[in-house]
């Protein structure tokens, strides 16, 4: 059937002139879920890139008065008058039976939500100091879209700032394992023989380690007092050191199967050099498969980072990632009394699903000739 489907485009001149990438893109665009995921991921990454600007608050805004505050309600209408989005003032009172702070709205005070308000100072992309934020409340009102944590920090801001770590580690890690996987995998497939055997054994040994204990061992080796950026780098390397093996195997398999294709023999007979054959026929041949596999690899890296931080082995407070947030929410009281502190979990699930759907779409599109 697929053969016929392919031929259906026969009257379409642009189809004939379309390269493999164009065909892939067209097919991907037909995959509704993948398209939606792509938009969603684009949005998430935009937010992460402009995190400091989007987040109304920063990571160190401790406030004992607003501990464990539930998500703030946003109102539009006050006593019958429409005045745009605003929040009421926050009043807290300790419940003498449970000894917990309980929050009420003080309808006498109104704080309007405004665009581009001044907030805590930060350096935009580490370059220009500024105090402008995308949105916020005027004066000294409180706006906790996702509620606040046990130190009174805005959870929404922390989820956004945490995504800067949680969404980029997999990317950097993927790049590292991509380079390792392609280099080692193609060497293994190209040279064969002893090189191949040695590489394959190393891969087998590496992938037979249980990952969590290995992470624990490796991260125990990281000194705890190093700057956040270095820590970030170390964790990326730890994660990618383990995940290149899968890619190397895929590259090797594809390499070997492509090496026996007739068009490679034809190029060889025409006197094309080995290096040229690799660059022109083999690498483009498995690139599409590689991209698919990378996309499907990213979610496992996100989960990897999250679980490391959750176990207390990765990023540590005050630096934030989704794993750190979940670790803070892991006690039973937060699930019972402060369910909003599990919101970072939703962020993880949504991102992982989006990557998986995108990977699915890419996989279907990867071989446009079938």
């Amino acid at each position: 059937m697929s053969e016929k489907k392919r031929k259906n485009h026969q009257n379409d001149e642009s189809y004939f002139l379309a390269s493999q990438w164009t065909l892939m893109r067209r097919k991907l665009m037909k995959h509704g879920l993948a398209r939606f995921s792509m938009v969603l991921l684009g949005l998430l990454y935009c937010i992460a890139i402009f995190g400091n600007f989007v987040a109304p608050s920063d990571l160190v805004a401790y406030n004992a008065k607003t501990k464990n505050c539930p998500p703030t309600k946003i109102h539009w209408v006050h006593e019958g008058d429409f005045i745009g989005p605003f929040v009421y003032g926050l009043e807290s009172e300790r419940n003498m039976e449970t000894f917990q702070l309980e929050y009420r709205e003080d309808t006498a005070r109104i704080y309007r939500i405004r665009w581009f308000v001044d907030g805590p100072e930060y350096k935009f992309w580490g370059l220009f100091p500024t105090t402008k934020h995308l949105f916020g409340v005027e004066d000294d009102g409180y706006l906790f879209l996702f509620g606040s944590d046990s130190m009174g920090r805005d959870l929404f801001s922390r989820v956004i700032l945490g995504s800067q770590v949680s969404l980029t580690i997999p990317f950097v890690g993927t790049v590292i394992s991509f380079v390792l996987g392609v280099l080692i995998g193609s060497a293994s497939g190209y040279f064969g023989g002893v090189v191949d055997t040695v590489v394959q054994r190393i891969i087998e040994v590496l992938s037979s380690f249980p990952s969590i204990p290995l992470w624990m061992a490796l991260s125990a080796a990281i000194p705890s007092d190093i700057p956040v950026v270095r820590m970030y780098l170390y964790i990326t390397i730890i994660i990618s050191l383990l995940s290149w093996t899968k890619l190397a195997r895929i590259v090797r398999g594809k390499f070997i199967s492509l090496r026996n294709e007739d068009f490679v023999t034809a190029a060889k007979l025409a006197g094309v050099s080995d290096l040229q054959i690799m660059l022109k026929h083999l690498v483009p041949g498995f690139m599409s498969y590689l991209i698919v596999n990378l996309t499907l690899e990213i979610p496992s890296m996100i989960i990897g980072e999250t679980s490391m931080s959750f176990l207390g082995l990765g990023i540590r407070s005050p630096a934030t990632s989704w794993g750190v947030l979940l670790q803070e929410a892991q006690d039973i009281s937060s699930i019972a009394s402060y369910p909003w502190r599990l919101i970072p979990l939703i962020a993880v699930v949504v991102t992982v699903l989006a990557f998986n759907f995108l990977g699915d779409g890419l996989r279907d599109a990867a071989d446009p000739y079938k």
Binding site: T265, L269, G285
Partner: protein
């Protein structure tokens, strides 16, 4: 009388794995004259594809030589030439593949596919010249030159095969190995491609080694035919000679099995008993003896050598002289015509 362009001598190819060594080719020798078409026939697993790939050096033969007489009259061993020499003569021996789908890189345009050999051999060639050469050869192979910017997926099997032929011809080779070049195509497309190959042969003075399992296509296109069985060449002769007067019992059986596209032709079938033996564990003596109806004691013990039984008809059979075997019945006219035309295209060969 045409000159010999290629002398294949004692080609042997072993595929070794950890446990067994399989001899895919054993001592295959034959000569090819310039401008000739040599058909190589045999059933699957007989080594005909391996032979073709050894000759073009897509795989390396275990032992043997392929002497190639170059344009300027030098005789070089194609399998053992130096690297610099190879660069010069590599382009003289090219190949056309069976599967028109896997033989073209789906990621390259037709222009890129056809010009790739040029780029590899003449790196200094200008873009305009490159394109001119491609257009010229595409025209010759019947490709619409306005389609050169398209990708292979835009073409049907027959057109793809034309692209493959254009790629093989763009370097102006002397010898083309056609490995089942028309087997994957539909009947009417097959005829188009065969006609094209014949036309190109005349125009560009090509020598073909035409490997196929289809005995009627081989009869049509070849001047001489070699029959292979289990890695050995068992018979090698002029096409009409071989088809009408086979000397090897295997050839006889093969010919009797050919379905003739004519309901009036009733062929007496000489069914072969049994199956092709496992090449990893071939029979003793003549490889064909367990299935041969004329087998005698000698056949079980010693392996026959390929030898000339007269008129350039080579057979590897102990009883070649005494057996009267049945071939295809030719109409008298056809035989006469063949006797005058095809025989003088064949050089006398002294076989080792």
């Amino acid at each position: 009388m045409a000159d010999t362009i290629l002398e294949v001598r004692n080609i042997t190819k072993c595929f070794n794995s950890k446990k067994v060594s399989v001899k895919a080719l054993t001592d295959v020798s034959f000569d090819i004259g310039k401008g000739e078409t040599i058909g190589i026939v045999g059933e699957s697993g007989c080594g005909k594809t391996t032979l073709g790939r050894c000759i073009v050096r897509a795989i390396e033969a275990t032992s043997g030589n392929v002497y190639y007489t170059t344009e300027d009259g030098r005789r070089v061993d194609f399998l053992k030439v130096s690297h610099t020499e190879m660069k010069k003569i590599r382009k003289d021996i090219q190949m056309i593949f069976q599967d028109p789908y896997s033989s073209l890189d789906p990621r390259m345009t037709v222009l890129d596919i056809i010009s790739e050999p040029l780029k590899a051999n003449f790196p200094k060639m200008s873009k305009a010249e490159l394109e001119a050469r491609v257009v010229e050869i595409a025209g010759k192979t019947g490709l619409n030159t306005s389609y050169l910017k398209r990708y292979p997926h835009a073409f049907s099997g027959g057109q793809r095969q034309r692209i493959g032929i254009a790629r093989a011809l763009v370097l102006h080779p002397k010898i083309i190995v056609c490995d089942e070049a028309v087997s994957a195509l539909d009947v009417s497309i097959q005829a188009q491609v065969i006609n094209l190959l014949k036309e190109l042969q005349r125009e560009m003075d090509l020598t073909y080694i035409f490997i196929s399992h289809d005995l009627s296509v081989v009869e049509y296109i070849s001047d001489r035919v070699g029959v292979m069985y289990l890695g050995r060449l068992v018979e090698y002769a002029d096409t009409v000679d071989l088809y009408s007067d086979p000397k090897h019992p295997y050839t006889e059986a093969l010919l009797s099995a050919v379905p003739v596209a004519d309901p009036d032709v009733v062929v007496e079938r000489l069914p072969l008993s049994g199956e092709i033996p496992n090449p990893a564990n071939p029979p003793t003596g003549c490889y064909f003896h367990p299935r041969c109806r004329y087998c005698i004691d000698q056949c079980r013990e010693t392996s026959p050598v390929l030898m000339d039984v007269g008129g350039g008809h080579f057979v590897a059979c102990h009883r070649a002289h005494e057996l009267k075997l049945k071939g295809i019945k030719y109409e008298a006219v056809a035989l006469e015509a063949a006797g005058t035309t095809s025989r003088d295209g064949c050089p006398e060969v002294d076989h080792e």
